[in-house]
């Protein structure tokens, strides 16, 4: 019943609107306003452009200032501080360009609205003017490009030798990380060795794998460079660490990397943001299927000591999955058991 009422009310409304429209058309025909070149509506439209400009600028100012608290969250990486600065400088420049061009555009629209008494100025070109406004953007662009290039080159330069290595692997739909263990080397892998347990496809003929460990969360030391080695096993994913201003696709069949220096521990960020529940988060930013929006993982940044302690306490993957000892070549069995932190077989 209510549906019926709503539908009939809608139809009635449309009918009334249509009638108003018809009457309005007939009146204009009678008044002969179609023969005028520009009537009252022209003034209204000109005025509306001015109104749009004024209200638009006020709304811009208001919305901008009231949203800034949620803009670019505090940068927690060293390069992030630099890119943020360039971002805001560029924003400043484009905001100026935006406001100036829009003031001119809408003001001219208003100021030069049609009048019978005036004739437009025949002004087909002016080489000097055009050269000026080709050169100004060119110079500004050049400035921005070169500062950007420098920063980009620094960010993407090879990681320092002493960087902490973290291997991160995306799959539908979740991330897993692998650390090098005591030997500081992440072991080799082969995608054909992947199975439900050995999700990294670790190749146990490579002895660097024996001590690698796979924790549930990502931990990083504060103030030290870390390098992410990024892989994907099924489709594209993308590692996005918003607070560290870092993003890189995970590509099946091709390892990608990025590196950065975390600036604050999680605790420090909790103090800075005033949010006692703050956590660094990792998100996926390359469409990868139905769970794309839920590939979240937490990153914990700690002081170096705490991090080292944690690192030492981690048990190797092999020790929690001793079945895989069987796939270690015979000659390396003992080494594997030892490095994995398991009992060696010589005891029997």
């Amino acid at each position: 019943m209510t549906n019926f009422l709503i539908v009939s009310a809608l139809i009635l409304l449309l009918a009334i609107l249509f009638l108003v429209f018809r009457i309005q058309t007939l009146v204009s025909v009678l008044k002969g306003s179609y023969h005028q070149r520009a009537g009252y509506s022209n003034k209204v439209n000109a005025f509306l452009f001015m109104a749009f400009l004024v209200f638009g600028l006020i709304a811009l100012y208001w919305s901008y200032t009231s949203s800034t608290k949620d803009f670019l969250p505090e940068s927690a990486s060293e390069h992030g501080v630099i890119t943020d600065k360039l971002f805001w400088i560029t924003m400043g420049i484009i905001t100026i360009a935006f406001v100036v061009t829009h003031v001119l555009l809408f003001y001219f629209a208003y100021r030069y609205q049609y009048s019978d008494k005036r004739k437009a100025e025949f002004f087909p070109d002016n080489t000097k003017l055009e050269i000026i406004w080709t050169i100004i953007p060119a110079v500004v662009m050049a400035g921005l490009v070169f500062s950007g290039l420098k920063i980009w080159t620094d960010i993407t330069a090879p990681a320092p030798e002493n960087a902490t290595l973290v291997e991160i692997k995306g799959k539908q739909f979740g991330w897993q990380v692998r650390y090098a263990g005591s030997d500081g080397k992440i072991g080799g892998y082969d995608y054909r060795l992947i199975d439900a347990t050995n999700t990294f496809g670790m190749d146990f003929s490579d002895k660097s794998n024996f001590d690698d460990f796979v924790p549930r969360e990502i931990r990083l030391p504060k103030g030290k460079p870390v390098q992410f080695n990024i892989r994907a096993v099924d489709v594209l994913h993308s590692v996005f660490l918003p607070h560290f201003r870092q993003k890189m696709d995970a590509v099946p069949g091709m390892m990608t990397t990025f590196h950065f220096v975390p600036k604050y521990t999680t605790e420090e960020m909790r103090a800075i943001t005033g949010n006692p529940k703050f956590n660094y988060e990792l998100a996926c930013t390359e469409i990868c299927g139905r769970g794309h929006f839920a590939m979240r993982m937490i990153v914990v940044v700690e002081e170096e000591d705490a991090y080292n302690k944690w690192y030492k306490e981690q048990k190797s993957w092999l020790s929690s999955n001793p079945d895989y000892i069987a796939s270690v070549p015979h000659s390396m069995k003992n080494l594997a058991l030892e490095k994995a932190g398991l009992e060696t077989e010589t005891s029997n």
Binding site: R37, N42, Y64, I94, Y112, Y114, T285
Partner: protein, 618 residues
Amino acid sequence: MASSAVSTSTAHAHDTHHDEHEHHELSFIRKYVFSEDHKTIGKQFLFTGIFWAIIGGLLSVLFRIQLGFPGADLTFLKPLLGGWITAEGTLDPEFYLAMVTMHGTIMVFFVLTAGLSGTFSNFLIPLQVGARDMASGFMNMLSYWFFFVSSVIMFISLFIKTGPAAGGWVIYPPLSALPQAISGSGLGMTLWLVSMALFIVSSLLGGINYITTVINLRTQGMTFSRLPLTIWAFFLTAVIGLLSFPVLFSAALLLIFDRSFGTSFYLSEIYIGGEALPNMGGSPILFQHLFWFLGHPEVYIVLLPALGITSEIIATNSRKPIFGYKAMVLSMVAIGFLSFIVWAHHMFVTGMNPFLGSVFMLLTLIIAVPSAVKAFNYITTLWKGNIVFTPAMLFSIALVSFFISGGLTGIILGNSALDIQLHDTYFVVAHFHLVMGSASFFGLMAGVYHWFPKMFGRMMDEKLGYIHFWLTFVGVYLVFFPLHYIGIAGFPRRYYSFTSYDAFSSFTDLNMFVSISAIITFSAQFIFLFNFIYSIFRGRLAPANPWRSNTLEWTTPRIPEHGNWPGKIPTVYRWPYDYSKPGAPEDFIPQNVPLSATPESNLENEMEEAQKEQVAAH
């Protein structure tokens, strides 16, 4: 000189050829369905484009509901969407992705490529260069019918059980190659690929025709430097399309091979669904290079016609010559050229060599210069004009606004150091919806309002046009401006929901606000639809030259028949922008008025030309 002589003789040849046919009465089917007349074909593209715009808009409203009101009860859509509505009445996440994908594909290709270029290139090129029809009417007809079949296939794919393609409009493999990864990559993706292949054929057939017609069928006196900017834009667009669409075609072909014939162009070392696939050695990055080699020029394929259309409309309604005609043409040429060497700015963080990133960043920011020149020239055209605000003029001024606000954020995204944070966030969504989506859409609207009298011989209602414009203009800014903020806060795009993240938990109000604005903006389009359909049948009869414009299409009868001009094709004596020329009695002098007839307003060099004209006439 030689070239103009050639064009004259071909135009004449065409003339006589045409006369032979004049007395046939075409059957209904040949006249309205399988028509070879460029005006009918243009309208066919327009109607199909409008149909697609409604579908594409509807999809965006649906997924905006999900984003603005997560978990809203959509049970009432069950009859339409069936299994895609979950038991709780919410949208299925996979179907969300499918809708985003189809929305993007539909808007970019079917609405703003076919609906915009297809409509206006077809309708206006012969009318504005002074030709009886396109170079090949038959190919032109094929172009529409390939598009039609492609549309039917894409439309069917919306309704199949496994859903339409869902890997984003960029269809990056491996996601788009593996049905195990997402159900839309099954039959839906196959239909997408077939449909797009046909679409490309349609574009190429159309493009070849546009280029040939512009080069060969210009009427006497219509030199390149006297072409209206619309024609320059359509011409350059067709050239860009001709060079870039085949690359998309090959990218799609290789993807078809990978999907169906076990090749490994894009696939390597994949473990999915509990098994390791045999493919080795392919590269997903290769696909991205091929895709964006079309994808970036595609942005300009969509935008240039809108820029051409609005240049014409702004000059006409400011009653002033377009400022810097040569600079406008040169900047379009420059943009067209540069658009081919900036594609990898979409790939800064895909694992591409960072040095390549630097190169592409440099090239990308160069393209800002010709774009800025265009914006300044538009604004200067308004300066000291005598502006008549027709609905078309309003939409054109708004286009300039969108072109600027969307273009400016491109300066940020083109900077690879800044793109690290913003890539694939809502900042990008805001950027391209303004500069490509809204700007081109407004160009399309401006074109429809402006050339409606020539298409249907009747006028659209102006008042409804004004209401439509203001609701849409304000609406577009309310929808897309806040998306910048959401993007700066880091919200990734193509997310079904943000609730699982602390980092993306702000802005729920703003998302709701955006969704409401989107619904209102979308609804406002029905005002246009009503006006459009009503005016076709009941609009006021159009005068011969309602906007007092200079270009040739306004010298044809109210409704031009097949062949466009009943008598001889008019000769052209001047450029199309003689508005408000000092000394002239009226504020416009059409292109077909000889210089010798306007001694009172001729500039110095034109005096000499006027003399030559008279000599030639004797």
